[in-house]
Symmetry: D2
Subunit: 268 residues, 4 copies
């Protein structure tokens, strides 16, 4: 409770339930003095409890399919109306692989599922920024964050086509971040978070074993959803104005480990 985001206005995508990183970020952003609009896809809203979060954070909800430019235009316009001005921060926490859900192997997917997952998980971030950019909806020194995962750089076999989607997402952050920085002094970054037992995360095969492995590898253990919320606040705040085009590992050190003593014990 530092008043870190006092007076800042935002849009938060992808809060499903209290396990979600976006949920925890919204709660903490509220604590820190921010006002924001919550959004999620109509289908996701049926599964989750977004109304509870809206009430707790005194926020309004604008449903939007993040693959629809029309929905995104409505979202951005309405958000500026509701919040009374331009946007200071955006959190994109959206990802879904139909191939994973349907149990298709990476080596032989359904390519329509591949295209759908790519659109939802990665192109949606481009579309969101497209609308924000065209509508000049971001304040100077605003901050746009998307959540990513290290499968964008290294192989995690069960992560399937989400690995490729995250690589595309991170590239979009850099590519669009250039134009947003050059033209509007807005920063764009991705946070590459530890595996996290959210509703989305636990859908991946063998997730529990993997969580244990990552926790033993990382010198500080896995970063939790709550930890990620704190870090995201730092990235929204004025403390980090000159950080842009980066993929920021928030993972207890996992990403720079070759092997830990705790993992090696299993091989001796």
């Amino acid at each position: 409770m530092y008043n870190l985001l006092k007076g800042k206005k935002g849009i938060i995508f992808g809060a499903l339930n209290e396990h979600s990183i976006a949920w925890k970020t919204a709660k903490r952003a509220h604590d820190e003095g921010a006002e924001f609009v919550l959004t999620n896809a109509p289908a996701a809203m049926k599964m989750g409890d977004l109304g509870v979060l809206a009430e707790k954070t005194n926020s309004q909800i604008i449903p939007a399919d993040a693959t629809s430019i029309e929905d995104l235009e409505n979202l951005v316009e309405k958000s500026m109306e509701i919040l009374g001005g331009k946007i200071d921060f955006v959190l994109h926490s959206i990802g879904m692989s139909v191939n994973v859900r349907k149990g298709k192997p990476y080596t032989d997917p359904n390519y329509d599922f591949t295209a759908k997952g790519w659109d939802v998980s990665a192109v949606s971030f481009h579309k969101t920024m497209n609308v924000l950019y065209r509508k000049k909806a971001m304040n100077e020194w605003g901050s746009i964050i998307a959540l990513s995962y290290m499968a964008a750089q290294r192989v995690f076999p069960d992560y399937n086509d989400m690995a490729d989607n995250k690589a595309y997402l991170e590239s979009v952050a850099r590519s669009f971040g250039y134009f947003f920085g050059r033209d509007y002094k807005v920063r764009v970054n991705t946070i590459s978070q530890s595996p996290t037992p959210t509703t989305a995360g636990t859908g991946v095969k063998g997730f529990d074993g993997f969580l244990a492995y990552a926790d033993k590898m990382a010198p500080l253990g896995n970063a939790t959803a709550a930890d990620c919320a704190e870090y995201t606040l730092a990235m929204f705040s004025d403390l980090t104005k000159k950080v842009t085009l980066q993929n920021l590992f928030h993972d207890g050190g996992f990403s720079n480990m070759g092997v830990s003593d705790a993992v090696m014990e299993k091989f001796e």
Copy 2:
């Protein structure tokens, strides 16, 4: 002329004309004793001179749209018939952005064009490996290469959505390379080549200025298409059997430069 690829069988995608990296690679692979099938999309074949190359290298041509699983299945089956056995090397040299061609800005593309470019430039590599993997068409210690560009890691504003496509392509190489390595001892890598004045390359806005910049930055100057053919041979040969999942910079050193004296001269 070392007989480096003697007895090796391959498939080479994407030779358009004598400026193409794939063209030069095919010629050199022929010199080095390889036999291979040439392929390109029917539309691309109309523009180019693939027949000339086929004659020079004593090769057959099998047209294939690399976004079509059916065409790829036909290509792989016929190639094994023609060559009399499994495949040792594959070169994927395919890339095209409809947004670039149509002059759409990165920040506001036509998303159908975006999807088409992604399918042609990146998913085609996944589809090719899918077919090769399912048909067990690769020999042990075979080598699969796709051509990439450093826009996958860093911003080159005029490269538009090809940057994101190349990031996806490189991720596919890692993701699929794991399964190909584990199951068939096949290696999969991307070569991140200097900007090259091929027919595809020169379509990018401001290409000449950019070529000069890159050449001044790289301590050895830009790598040419002919240089790239040599390097690709090395990656197909038995000299590099244990290199896999890598993105290999072949760029005269550009990728690890912060600034060169020659570039700094313009700022002093």
Copy 3:
């Protein structure tokens, strides 16, 4: 002014004068409620105005040569006495190349100068952590930061042997960070800062031209010393507890640029 570091205790190395990143960090840390000890080498203290900073921030000064284990032991012990407990944050902002000062070319240095610069710029960070670790002087979830520069990854010809020293420094952060994380839940990171016109920075040949180049390349422009102080506060705060072993680029986006439009203008 968020009370971000309220109750936190620290040690800040390397404040020379008001242009120093360490100076600005100390001032801001004081604003944010931290208490700390200031330290610098006896020789550096003669050149600078550390007394002024101590007065402004209500801090004590303990001179220490950071290449001397004895001095560092004295520093850490005295700091804990003065501050009344263990340490929460440490800033290492020390670097010096004798070869640069004496105008020796990178390709033919004086190797005694090379060894001296390495000891001062890089090994000093290891020695500092050695003493903190052995004396169990850090609180859980403490944060240790060293300042670095992108020459550790890419070539900047005039940066001379400081490039290699920074590569060593960043490696020390990872290597020691593992043990500090595993055993004491302390994080260790480096911040890779834009070229900054501090007293140290401006000693590098051609610094002005280089500053202009970097500023034109980075979509947000160069990060200033004041910006870096803000970012360092974020890294000391409880917002970033699970970030460790990282080299954090704080550079307006420079590190992920291939080329900007502003730089390309000079080549067209």
Copy 4:
């Protein structure tokens, strides 16, 4: 046997016995038509069988302490005399940590040992290039290679201060590689090799368990010393003329793995 290095002249550092990567590289380079001088430190020569290798490859031996500029000058001058001209390739395969040998922990080393290991393992590469550069001893398009290890990028706790030395070594390759490329069209790279059961490798604590772990992680398994010799030939050959300033992972894919199925089995 391709005559890949026909007519090329080289200097090979660090062949101790038949397990050494340098030993295997020398044998294969001889097969491929190269002529070269073998060198090692006088102390290392007493332990090894360099005479046997010299006989097999029809080479001469010039002892040299690679930390001594005087010895290196003698080596380079004599080599050019013996080989009848300038040098085309150099292999630096030298590394040693006194702290590892003496069982000192990373967190509390003997700093004289640290300095000695740094000088032998990393600065020796700078000194070698310094002499080659000053004496204009390299032919155009020559190739200089040093062997490295991934501990330069990621934490392997038992690798101790060799991690930091390898980081410095790789930085030297980039820094010096710029000048060698710009001025003499010579390329400089490091090969980051799998853990290898050479005499040096097996001295690291827990090496067997670690070898098994790395082998299970890498989709193609660990690269052997013999594999590394093949790859080094490719890097000395004319096939790779435009590759420079790179750190080349030669590790069966280990470096880009997050986790493999085989490793995950231990956690399920």
